[in-house]
Symmetry: C2
Subunit: 431 residues, 2 copies
């Protein structure tokens, strides 16, 4: 394995531009021209053109797209080569030709189902590589924002017995012969943890048995959730706009190359600085009606309405004050106007819509039990959640952020499955 260790990243070879170097990677493109074979090799950092003398390197003929290779040679500046540098190969130290690669990138781009079937290979594409690097930066930025803001990272269970969002979209697990469910949200557990740590967050999978295939739903998704003691709706909304703008700024700084490779226009991202617009549910209904959308006060603001609404604004907006029946039972009703809740969503612009749902929670146990009953639910099912309010309850608020949706907007993707390494929906659980 000595040759592997000697290899330098391709980006580093391009920087050097001269001297001898060993590189390793996979064949990205290949063409033969008279006595030479030109191979573009990729690794995790970039691509470089290798030049083989055909008569000296029979192996060069045998290389397929995606064959693996470790090669040593002289770096030479060549303006016509990608990155401006070529490696004139003098030694091939390791090679694995393999079989002819089944994916033709250009042809395949047209058939997204095929690309999902071969996702385990399609991850090698430069487009997926760019998306994965952006995801890496997005997750890092979320952790950084929360940790620097005094939040503790916690872990909450995936196996649950009480539904947060309602029972219709729960996955059932056979748990040693008993039914348990997969979590839809860690919120209830975060609420338990604020009495210990005050400000907590978790980044973990959540699950929704979503039977329809939409551009923004998967059956499992990564959920960044937070909860803070001694806080109200507006405090949580501020954290929401701050974390989004922090993430976007970091991606703009560190992933400009990847955004450009994906053809993403960055202006909408650059504008996403706090404060985001604040739009009440009442105002949203008015705006939509003026646009000719048929909606009455009390109706839900679904994907289509969100889309119409966000197209009116040049940066994300905090949509707040939803009518009671549109939001789950745990949202605190506005004491000054009990028909609406202290709830909010953050909607992403350009038609992307909801990325955060949150608000202030009911902290009074009597009010909570009453609302559980008013919603036709059984307080017995929420016993420990109610229990939290019986001993030193405090006002608190939080939210859940769909990380994959945020990545979707940042990358400008059309479909959420395009930004998840191994997406899962009603029809797909492999590879």
């Amino acid at each position: 394995m000595e040759a592997f260790k000697r290899a330098i990243p391709i980006a580093e070879a391009l920087r050097r531009g001269e001297g001898y170097a060993t590189v390793r990677g996979w064949v990205y493109r290949k063409r033969s021209l008279k006595e030479k074979v030109f191979v573009v090799l990729r690794d995790a950092t970039g691509v470089i053109q290798l030049v083989f003398q055909r008569d000296k390197f029979k192996i060069a003929e045998d290389l397929n797209i995606e064959s693996a290779l470790v090669a040593t040679g002289r770096l030479v500046r060549e303006p016509r080569a990608p990155g401006g540098v070529e490696l004139h190969v003098e030694k091939v130290e390791w090679a694995y030709a393999g079989e002819p690669y089944p994916i033709n990138e250009d042809a395949a781009a047209a058939d997204s189902e095929y690309l999902l079937d071969v996702r385990h290979l399609w991850l090698r594409s430069r487009k997926m590589q760019a998306v994965l690097k952006i995801r890496h930066t997005v997750f890092e930025a979320i952790h950084q924002y929360f940790r620097r803001s005094g939040f503790y990272e916690v872990q909450t269970p995936m196996f649950i017995t009480a539904a947060v969002e309602g029972g219709a979209t729960l996955f059932k697990v056979d748990y040693f012969g008993q039914p348990v469910y997969l979590t839809q949200s860690s919120q209830f557990y975060l609420e338990a943890l604020i009495y210990s740590l005050e400000k907590v967050y978790v980044i973990a999978p959540s699950f929704r048995a979503e039977p329809s295939r939409t551009r923004r739903h998967l059956t499992e998704f990564w959920h960044a959730e937070m909860e803070m003691a001694w806080a109200g709706m507006e405090d949580a909304a501020k954290v929401g706009e701050e974390v989004i703008s922090y993430v976007v700024e970091k991606v703009l700084q560190e992933r400009a190359e990847e955004l450009s490779l994906l053809g993403r226009k960055t202006e909408p991202l650059e504008r996403a600085k706090p404060p985001f617009y604040r739009v009440s549910y009442d105002e949203a209904v008015e705006i939509l009606r003026k646009k000719g959308v048929s909606i009455s006060w009390g109706d839900d603001i679904g994907a289509d309405e969100e889309r119409a609404l966000t197209l009116e604004f040049d940066k994300p907006l905090v949509l707040y004050g939803f009518p009671e029946k549109l939001k789950a039972f745990y949202h605190r009703n506005n004491p000054d106007r009990p028909e609406v809740t202290l709830s909010f969503d953050v909607l992403l612009p350009e038609g992307y819509g909801e990325v955060i749902g949150g608000g202030e929670r009911i902290y009074d146990p009597v009010e909570l039990v009453e609302k559980i009953k008013r919603f036709g639910l059984n307080p017995e099912d929420y016993q420990w959640y109610i229990d939290l309010r019986r001993y030193g309850s405090v006002p608190h608020a939080g939210f859940g952020l769909g990380v994959d949706r945020l990545v979707m907007w940042i990358t400008g993707a059309d479909h959420i499955r395009d930004v998840v390494p191994f997406p899962r929906d009603v029809r797909r659980t492999r590879p």
Copy 2:
């Protein structure tokens, strides 16, 4: 909510030691003495003694353990108070007395099942708070280590169709009427991702339908897994010892107070610096036999044997070269000695045992298919995994680290459920 915002962390109030301050938190202890009521208040940062004039603050009489409170007053140095500072209360700006708290910490400590039943409340204990803070630091350190070492963070699916570790301990999910399973390890997915990003890691839940209750098994646990292209067993083992020592060092630096509160002796942690001991399976069998353990070459090294073995060493050890049949099919056999694999475990000292399992993977598709068959498995079930080797396969290695087990050792806990906020085992799925 104005009073909430004015409050400063208790740790900050202790630092100031004079002037006026507002603090907020929960009642940790309370005692009355003539005309005064002494209340020890805790928040996420520490505890401070509040002194109430009984005649001025009727509310002080009504406070229960865990009642919530926002109070303003004068900070006074008082050597007999915890932290050396008291707050002489002049104004109570918010209070939520609630009901008498059901947990008596001292009495409860004896009954761990009871404490699991009320885990949603028990998280408020100073002991759980210390454990949670250590977890926070452990997770941060793992991310930091991998990111600084050039690994990309990725997310892998929880819903799977092929077993990594074997079918016996898979949880079955009702997936729109079809069976799918919960992941036991992200390894196969990480292997797909190395062709794109070369060095990848994930920190996510994994699931094992473990029917027995042991001190180191849960049905869901947090798994930190990594995979690297162009690497062998010893490369992966080095990453393993580095990440563990990095985590331990960070906890020693940043969580000394919490370790002390938990009564953890730090010497075993301080010694955990690379290189860890390297012990071959052959040597381990010899050592165990000399200690009188009845074991033959080829037998498994289970929890009891690991315990006996680690007590012979003063820091973690890399146990490597397990016989073929003791490790899963994907482990590469040693080409120089095919009866053993290029596999390793990292065992924690003081009897804690296995925290990492890893090794080099088979990269040749023919060798892989042969071994799958030799293990009595069906290559059809591993089609996309085999596929990875058909196009530019490369030597690679990786491991999985049980994060909760690492926290267990760092905190010196007797049982893994003592270091997980909401532990899940065969008998427990709530709260």
